[in-house]
């Protein structure tokens, strides 16, 4: 049994008085210990929704309408609020996009770190502080002792995100869910932070679910990839295999649209149109209005996820090579 198994997960939001729309429409996911998975998709594809539902953090009025999230044999969606707190922020940690928002601006770094630790461990103040300093050193924060007394605004964006990572690591989690952890940062700082996350995950054998829209980062950091479109996984498999030979036309389109693959002065490949909102999904495969391979079948039925891709007319390897 895998460490984390998500089966047929549906998240629904009410639309009007009676109807509901689905932000996730049946997502399956397996994650082994120490495995690093990248979840890629455009805004509205449901990637953050997936992350939030793992820890049962879907905000009202949304709800998980179907499916299970099994972590070490235990369905997290059935746990009481009290029981899930033993897992959330303890065995599964989260890193969010903007460290200025996730850190409390009126508490010092030290207070916030000790607080997290004491919520999950019986530990003395002195021992907690010692552990916090050790964690700050692990994420390469210079003069860690003196930083405990600092407030978030006194640190730069990169240092703040390091503090967030240190907090995520405090309880030695088995899984870290990172939701666009570097989107708010500059390129050089982004590279540092991603290199740090990669190193720590490897050293401590921590599993990672990395949510991002940046295929370059996924290629650098993850072993497996899951590409989402309109609330469904459209393709999944080993990262480098998919980047080299995608089967789903959407994955292929995303990759081809990257400027680094086009010669200078040439036109970029462009996927026509944009992703439909969840309130106005077309029948059949949600991608068919934008897809050059679409047929009548695609308009009628949702393709099942088989052999790692959900497409009736996948691009096969020989065709991709030619």
């Amino acid at each position: 049994m895998a460490m984390l198994e998500i089966e047929d997960l549906h998240v629904a939001f009410p639309k009007g008085k009676k109807a509901e729309v689905e932000a996730l429409r049946g997502v399956n996911l397996k994650l082994e210990k120490g495995e690093r998975l990248g979840v890629v998709g455009e805004s509205g594809a449901g990637k953050s929704m997936l992350a939030f539902s793992i820890l049962n953090l879907i905000a009202e009025p949304g709800r998980v309408s179907q499916g299970s999230v099994v972590f070490h044999g235990e369905n997290l969606l059935e746990l009481s609020e009290r029981d899930i707190r033993g897992i959330r922020g303890n065995r599964i940690s989260m890193i969010f996009q903007d460290p200025m928002v996730t850190l409390n601006p009126v508490l010092t770094i030290g207070t916030q770190m000790v607080e997290t630790l004491k919520a999950h461990r019986k530990i003395s103040d002195a021992a907690a502080r010692k552990l916090c300093i050790a964690k700050l050193k692990e994420v390469a924060i210079p003069s860690a002792e003196s930083r405990l007394g600092a407030y978030p605004h006194e640190l730069s964006g990169g240092l703040r995100q390091r503090v967030v990572i240190a907090i995520a690591l405090l309880t030695d989690p088995e899984l870290i869910i990172a939701d666009e952890p570097t989107t708010a940062l500059d390129v050089t700082i982004q590279a540092e932070i991603m290199a740090l996350i990669l190193k720590l995950c490897r050293e401590k054998d921590v599993a990672l679910i990395l949510i991002t829209h940046d295929l370059g980062i996924v290629a650098e950091v993850t072993e497996r990839i899951m590409i989402m479109y309109a609330g469904l996984c459209v393709e999944t498999g080993p990262t480098h295999q998919i980047i080299q030979a995608p089967h789903h036309p959407y994955s292929a389109g995303l990759l081809k649209a990257l400027p680094q693959f086009a010669g200078r002065g040439t036109r970029l490949y462009q996927i026509p149109g944009s992703m439909p909102p969840i309130t106005a999904l077309p029948p059949g495969c949600a991608y068919h209005p934008r897809c050059e391979r679409a047929t009548e079948l695609c308009k009628a039925q949702i393709p099942p996820l088989e052999h790692g891709h959900a497409c009736f007319h996948p691009i096969d390897q020989t065709e991709a090579a030619s």
């Binding site: 390469a140 390129v187 982004q190 295929l215 370059g216 950091v221 990257l258």
Partner: protein, 322 residues
């Protein structure tokens, strides 16, 4: 200078910072420090750098949205930085701007027709009502907008569609020069390619000159003819795009290039710790990049390198660049 469409001569922008009224020390933030660039007609001149490097201030200063503290700006050989609003009006027709966030740059209460007609009515008062309408319809067609959009409000459009409208607004007065400040950063990956292609097509059709401001070097490589790399208000390297990517001369340019996540992976494995930006208010006397530079020597900390032309035509502000 005769052949440049835009030329800046030693422009500086200083922002005084709030101080205590008794304090004799008056801190000043140098947003731009003696920037000399000359943009040739028909090129896509890119400015790259991290946040706070002054790239947006440069665009705003050229557009006349931010008066320079010192220096001169010339448009087609005519000095424009000291003009009053009245004298500037005919020039505004020829210089327009596209902003980063199409959710913020369009007036939410104004329909598309009103948004597009406003610059024509204001800057081309000789135009009659039907002529204004014709001009709006022409620019909508040229930017791939549907004529039916005219009566709609911004909230009815997706991000990519809004950015098309913002581009249409910039083009409606038939300008020769466009400042595009991170025009694709707020958009989804599949939409970014659409907008970049549109900007390229429009340039070919209308002979536009672009000042393209971005933090994303992979976009520069695809889009730019020449690039200026900025750091803390100064140009560190200025080169033809191909030359810059083939042979980066400034250590900061190399740092930026190393930080791009690569689709082939592997670049985060041996990442050098690039360190943090110095405080832009209390700048060190020497090279602004010296605190982060692996090559820095005593001379770099004492003496600021000026931008100089190297053998291959690249201009770099580094004592050791060859």
């Amino acid at each position: 200078m005769t052949d440049a469409i835009i030329e800046t001569k030693g422009i500086e922008v200083r922002f005084p910072l709030p101080t205590h009224f008794l304090s004799r020390h008056k801190p000043v933030l140098h947003a731009l420090n003696t920037v000399d660039i000359a943009i040739r007609p028909g090129e896509s001149f890119c400015v790259v750098g991290e946040s706070g490097c002054g790239k947006t201030t440069l665009g705003r200063t050229i557009m006349g949205l931010q008066p320079p503290t010192a220096g001169e700006i010339h448009f087609n050989g005519q000095r424009i930085d000291q003009m009053d609003e009245g004298a500037r009006k005919p020039i505004r027709r020829d210089m327009q701007m596209v902003f980063q966030n199409p959710y913020a740059s369009l007036n939410p209460r104004r329909n598309v027709f009103e948004t597009l007609a406003e610059p024509v009515r204001h800057l081309m008062p000789e135009k009659t009502g039907p002529e204004v309408r014709a001009q709006v319809e022409d620019v909508l067609a040229a930017t791939g907008c549907d004529p039916s959009w005219q009566r709609k409000l911004p909230h009815e459009f997706s991000g990519g569609q809004r950015q098309r409208i913002a581009i249409a607004r910039a083009l409606v007065t038939n300008p020769a020069f466009i400042v595009a400040d991170e025009p694709i950063s707020a958009l989804d990956v599949s939409i970014q390619a659409q907008i970049l292609n549109l900007l390229n097509d429009l340039q070919a059709e209308r002979g536009l000159t672009y000042l393209f401001i971005t933090h994303d070097l992979s976009v520069v490589e695809h889009f730019g003819t020449r690039v200026a790399v900025m750091y803390l208000g100064r140009v560190m390297e200025l080169a033809e795009t191909e030359t810059l990517f083939a042979a980066p001369k400034h250590p900061y340019t190399r740092l930026l290039l190393d930080a791009i996540p690569k689709i082939e992976g592997g670049s985060f494995e041996n990442l050098r710790e690039p360190g943090e930006l110095p405080d832009p208010v209390n700048m060190p006397p020497g090279c602004p990049f010296a605190p982060r530079c692996p090559m820095a020597e005593a001379r770099c900390r004492a003496e600021r390198p000026e931008l100089r032309t190297l053998a291959n035509g690249t201009e770099a502000a580094c004592h050791f660049a060859q």
